[in-house]
């Protein structure tokens, strides 16, 4: 590992000045991704600026019922937060489906958003990777790509974003608050991560030296009827093979509104807007759910080893929505404002 200098600050502006002042400086959150990548030689910062003592560690309820989550809030604290559990269960479940208890105690919200892909070739400095070394080539295109993208990839890069949390956040229309050398601004989460295109090394729209200070979730009255489903190779402590975040608002047997997020399918947390549009105003049935998922998946291009992700995501989407509809119709389930009696074809 390369030697590095270490600084910590309690002032966000000073932290940004430190990182923006040096091309090879990096922020250090919980370290659960960065320390690993430094050991692997993938990340070689010369200066680490520790963000964990910045005053960004609180969860605030906004007047409209939304939430502002500080960037250094630990994943475990966020998942355990009473408001998150009650109003945005999809977020709590996504967090709890990620990593392990110990890692969630360390991982921060900012670090989770900026964690790097788990593509084998990105993590192996002996193999070509356009993300690590632009122009070197992509080893995954014809290599081990079972875990990688089916949507939005380019011949330069087929990596996926590994975060579970971000999939829930993209479905919830979250906004990332950042402090950049030029000042503070908001970036919608759906525009925060880039698709790889010709520049897979540029992963986000955050300016160099930019610090994530918070994530804001707008109020969503039907956020209480939301959940997260993750398919993986073992029951716990594994990255997703595919995942679905969903929230649904029913009007009798019709879908009044819906929010979806798909994980482990693309270079960014995927917001299936075509599927959402296909669902609004339609009967809340298994059939509509399937057709909507298929409409979005028409654009999917599987790689040599991951065609299974197409039916996987379709089925996960259907099961997740059916579960939400049944929960609201079933005994003890909170019926919607119009009495959730949606029929589900079986």
């Amino acid at each position: 590992m390369r030697s590095f200098r270490y600084e910590r600050s309690t002032d966000p502006g000073r932290a940004v000045a430190l990182v923006a002042g040096e091309p090879d400086a990096a922020y250090l959150g919980g370290g659960t991704n960065l320390v690993d990548l430094m050991k692997l030689g993938v990340a070689r910062p010369g200066l680490l600026v520790d963000v964990t003592r910045l005053p960004l560690d609180s969860v605030e309820t906004l007047p409209d019922g939304g939430l502002r989550i500080g960037a250094t809030v630990r994943n475990s604290d966020l998942a355990a937060h009473p408001t998150v559990r009650r109003d945005f269960p999809v977020l709590a479940r996504a967090l709890l489906a990620g990593a392990s208890g110990q890692l969630r105690n360390m991982a921060t919200v900012g670090g989770n958003l900026l964690q790097r892909t788990r593509c084998y070739y990105f993590q192996d400095v002996s193999r070509p990777c356009n993300k690590r070394e632009p122009g070197a080539g992509c080893s995954a295109l014809e290599g081990q790509n079972r875990d990688l993208a089916i949507l939005g990839w380019s011949p330069q890069c087929v990596a996926t974003h590994p975060s579970d949390m971000a999939v829930a956040l993209v479905a919830l229309d979250a906004v990332v608050e950042v402090l950049e050398p030029a000042g503070a601004r908001d970036i919608p989460l759906a525009e925060f991560h880039r698709l790889p295109g010709e520049r897979p090394d540029q992963e986000t729209t955050l300016a160099p030296g930019g610090l994530v200070t918070a994530v804001r979730i707008p109020a969503l009255p039907f956020g209480r009827r939301s959940t997260y489903r993750k398919a993986r190779d073992r029951a716990s402590f594994a990255f997703a093979a595919g995942s679905v975040a969903a929230a649904i608002d029913l009007d009798g047997g019709l879908v009044r509104d819906v929010r979806l997020g798909w994980g482990a399918v693309a270079h960014r947390p995927w917001r299936p807007r075509l599927a959402e549009a296909a669902l609004r105003g339609q009967p809340a049935t298994e059939e509509t759910f399937r057709l909507a998922a298929e409409e979005e998946l028409a654009a999917a291009r599987p790689l040599t080893q991951n065609a299974f992700k197409i039916p996987l995501i379709r089925n996960l989407t259907v099961r997740t929505l059916v579960e939400l509809v049944e929960d609201s119709a079933g005994p003890g389930g909170e019926a919607g404002p119009t009495g959730g009696t949606a029929g589900v074809d079986r």
Binding site: S3, G31, D36, D50, L96, S100, Q102, M106
Partner: protein
């Protein structure tokens, strides 16, 4: 106060830093290469070799310790970032020569074979039980808002999934944790 002398192979400042750590109740002042992980600080600098280096990449849990009361993987934390923290490793669990009740349960239930993962399992289980006491849900908790409905086997297995046991002593680890929790009134 225990001081360790600077090692000959240490890089110059600013590539090393003074680090204050309380470990199992004893204060230490260290002078460490910034690259030193908490795990290496314990093992290489303080001679506390209870926490094990299984993978060094956050994947196995054998390095689990309690940092300011919470379970963490010490292989993925730089010691310098933990400056000022209060750390408990497996060496700090027994008191006055008496095993911690959880340790006794591990012995009674035969919850290990080679023992390599055990110190991590113990620290992780203690952190986990504390999370449970605070009502934290897990991904297998049916009603997130209500919180965990008892320390069932699926709850223990899910919450302990960050600790791998190559000897697959899992059934006995689960029963040891259950007994220790029940004795404490956590069910």
């Amino acid at each position: 106060m225990v001081r360790t002398s600077p090692r000959a192979d240490l890089p110059e400042p600013p590539y090393r830093s003074p680090v204050r750590l309380s470990v199992n109740g004893r204060p230490h002042e260290l002078d460490l290469d910034n690259r030193t992980t908490l795990l290496d600080a314990l093992r290489e600098h303080l001679g506390l070799i209870g926490a094990k280096k299984g993978c060094d990449h956050g994947q196995c849990g054998s390095c689990t310790v309690l940092l300011d009361g919470r379970r963490v993987k010490s292989c993925l934390a730089f010691a310098v970032a933990a400056d000022g923290a209060d750390l408990v490793s497996v060496e700090g669990l027994a008191e006055d020569g008496h095993l911690h009740p959880l340790q006794s349960c591990f012995v009674q239930h035969d919850a290990f074979q080679c023992g390599y993962c055990t110190s991590g399992q113990l620290c992780s289980a203690l952190g986990m039980l504390d999370e449970l006491r605070q009502g934290w849900p897990s991904v297998v908790t049916p009603d997130l808002a209500a919180g965990p409905d008892g320390l069932t086997e699926p709850e223990i297995r899910e919450r302990m999934s960050g600790n791998i046991c190559r000897c697959a002593a899992y059934p006995h680890i689960v029963s040891a944790i259950r007994e220790a929790a029940a004795a404490e009134g956590v069910r």
